[in-house]
Symmetry: D2
Subunit: 312 residues, 4 copies
């Protein structure tokens, strides 16, 4: 992900400007503010702004006149308590804004989370660059047999090469024809004066779904954590998971106590169904329980045994 | 938009089944229930379900034990009053669910309206048909000179033909390679047993943005009217406007009084800025006002004169 | 909760009217449609309208042209799968509308769920009846010692009597003064012609928080289940829990398969933290674990042991 | 609104702490940060945090790598353009958080705006202070004759005095009985050791709706402007309008260009219905139009003439 010099200069200028503020700040997040964190072959995540930190969570939970914080251990305990008991509103008091560059097919999954604010680069208004996603060979998965929406083993040798060639050639051709139909160069100047050029809002339909787009994306901490819990999950598609993983690192810098509570109570934990819980109780009571008498389907049984670290 | 025989049989079966209900019904909407209303070359809009009618608006506004309706003229007056004074909550008491087939680049605009519920056909899970949008020659607009996100005159002759050929050939090639990479036929059977096939969630990235997708889309009447007011607007892209226009017809069948109030107070009306209103007052007072002394920019002046049906 | 004769006649008229519809119907829900289900001393819940049933969930999950249903066992399995894996969007395709009568302090908790549509009876516009909530003696809890936001044992004898007398007398006096300040009778006629009467929007501030209000409340099934999971929880205040319990019964009539999946995977299940899960694994491996070496706080340990049905 | 010394010390401590930040700051808003701005007799609005300024709007509209700002006149023109054409998403990129103290009956109107994040002081958990709203004599309106949800002339003399006495005495008695039922002092210590005390979550129902509550309330700029446009409107109840007016002043300090565009295009402007627009055109063409031949109702005619500054 090479940033072009003009954009790099813009970023440097942002990073060099500092001001005094009476607001709370998150120094570890300020360190990386505005800096593009690379994802995939051309993508990035940049933290552009934020509001609040761990103290804003306890301040809101206590509806305080002042900072609302007490001893670190008390604040930590309160944040864990709120997370454990699904008192989600104090987490909504923190807000973060990202600038993200991502392939169109990833953007289409991402936008399904409706609680964020979004401003996307407009291909009705502007011309899209020739930048498209090509999977790294190590991520070129075959269709999974066990999971209809997942990948299995990695493609190898000639087949992998063939796939990458098709993807690259089709994307390159699509972009060449896109530019050709527009009859414009990057600065909007006419290329061939004997032609008029198709409207941008139409020409863009010739691009393939691996082309990159960009957006500003702003969300509160509670909804961000919900987004991340779904998108760092192993069932999420690899290409969105890598964004979620990078964003999780920014959360750790921003609100370390909330991050810890999230890791303990949401990400690292597990949900048991009523029948699953009954099985656990029987096992703890020393009873020998097999799938047949568990009341669980084979799939549910496998999932439960996996969770408990036992052979299915 | 030819519906294939299996889908047509499914639709017919839905339409033939009727039940008794104590709920309010909208007979004019029932007439077209489930029926695909064609849009563009392969798209459609189908009303799949609805809840409430005009009476549900007045019932909620009056928080009634019964139907809450009175004489037609009173209900009509109340609905107009609610619309005029932005009392929007009673309109939220009606809900409608559509099945829509639409090109991906239209879906990307549409989904920006976040207040709806959506279930989209999954290309992680299923294989997309070879159906893509090709503009009718009469809609093949050039890039507008006056509006950076719009179209001007229509492309003609050889240039139009060339554009359509490029769009068609690129879409056909993209789909052929998509199927090739999958190494599956429509039923999921392996085509070439010497290859394993790329995961669906990856192969889909080779498709161009004019391919069709489908979704179930459900929304309340207030938010639907907001969506329609933005999307039947002449500034909306033609390809989404034609969907909005068809949906507006379904609204007319469903809630005729709300439709009428919407046409009178939202769509057909106009918003004046503070300065624009001052200009109107001066004109009404017989004063001669030109752009220079109006306080409006040239663009705003043109818009206002257009609105008032006067020469700019 | 005696319904006055005029309202009863309105309800009867609604129930007697039936129409033909092509939409799906939920016969068990139609049985109780419009009927007030009593809650607390003057409150009720009435189902006023609904859209969809279990089949609408599978139809949307499959983005079907037709009903989308298959064998009952397949539909049931799919709904359970969607619930288990947090694929929440198909549950959003069902919608329900309630008419609820409830004390103001309950309404203030309830309204915090922001995903519903609401029309409340307006005390700016109308005069509130003299109906207020008095707890049944069996629910007159003392302040809990262990939980700062809960109740402990029940007040008894003279103290209980005293509390009920204070609540009743203050509410009666508040309403008498409210009416007095308005200087209007129920029909809006002036009582004392020598006075002008205070505006309704002001006079209402004299009412106590146990007075009843009413609203129409409409929500989709996913968000309703989320609301119910929080409000049937033993930590929820008794006065809102009884509403949630009645509503849960209406869900069972409406979408029995979704109800079953919800009971199995949400309500009846349990969430383990990362550390809690580790403790369970150690116990299953036959290790003897106490709170001290568990990594859990005393409170978390008690909660976990309670969940597993073991002594803390 | 006297702030007690402990709270004042908390506020002073917040105001004295400053940090370096790389984020954009709004100096005019920093000036008043944390400071309670008095509203009504005991209420206040405090800006507790914010994110973004005018530059964040243009930065998002341009999806910039850097600040995205150009010359002031260009930024100003762009913001006005976005406001005029309802391109609302860039305004969502700014966020603000308030601490508000307000009477319960105002809180019940306010909370109907569902797009904000809220943490309210919990009367299940804590004891409410003896602070209630008493209208200033100059705002003690009678019920309006022309508008069923509004006020007319001001009550005077003995009647005004009587109303204020009733409101004060009932609120004082309600709080005294509330405290009595709790059997707790402000610090949670038992008052009468022979009684156990009613649970807080129950006792609070004895309070009248003019008691003050507090909350943290966080919202993005677009939704804030929507809230303000409805609540600074002359039809809004006086007691919420005064909050909106103070908040509008904070918006002016925060995002002066957006404020200006809002004043010009939303607040100061006017919406004409289709028929109203036709009347204006006829008048401009020199035609003499009266209500009878206008197609408008008498009420609509009066409203239009009022808008145009003409006699009805």
């Amino acid at each position: 992900m090479p940033i072009d010099p003009q954009h790099q200069a813009d970023i440097d200028a942002l990073r060099e400007t500092t001001s005094q503020t009476r607001r709370v700040t998150a120094p570890a997040l300020e360190e990386i503010l505005y800096r593009p964190l690379p994802v995939l072959d051309h993508g990035f995540v940049r933290v552009m702004d934020y509001m609040g930190d761990d103290s804003a969570i306890v301040q809101a939970a206590r509806v305080s006149y002042g900072r609302g914080t007490r001893r670190l251990s008390e604040d930590k305990g309160l944040i864990a308590y709120l997370m454990r008991h699904r008192h989600t509103t104090p987490f909504e008091m923190c807000e973060i804004k990202y600038h993200v560059k991502l392939p169109l097919f990833v953007a289409r999954q991402w936008i399904r989370h409706r609680t964020a604010n979004v401003n996307e680069y407009s291909a009705r208004y502007s011309i899209l660059d020739k930048e498209f996603y090509l999977p790294a060979p190590s991520t070129l998965g075959t269709q999974s047999r066990s999971n209809r929406q997942g990948r299995g083993a990695v493609l190898e040798g000639a087949e992998a090469e063939r796939v990458l060639t098709l993807l690259r050639e089709d994307a390159e051709r699509a972009h060449a024809h896109y530019v050709d139909m527009l009859n414009e160069d990057e600065n909007g100047a006419t290329v061939d004066p004997t032609r008029v050029g198709l409207a941008r809002e139409l020409a863009r339909m010739n691009l393939t779904l691996n082309f990159y787009t960009q957006w500003y994306w702003k969300i509160d901490l509670h909804n961000l954590l919900h987004f991340l819990s779904l998108r760092v999950d192993p069932h999420a598609q690899y290409e969105i998971r890598v964004y979620a993983e990078i964003m999780l690192e920014t959360v750790k810098r921003w609100v370390p106590l909330a991050y810890e509570a999230f890791a303990e109570h949401a990400m690292g934990g597990a949900h048991l169904s009523a029948t699953g819980l009954a099985v656990v109780k029987r096992l703890l009571a020393g009873e020998s329980v097999g799938q047949a008498e568990s009341g669980l389907s084979q799939r549910e049984w496998r999932e439960l045994m996996g969770l408990l670290g036992r052979e299915a």
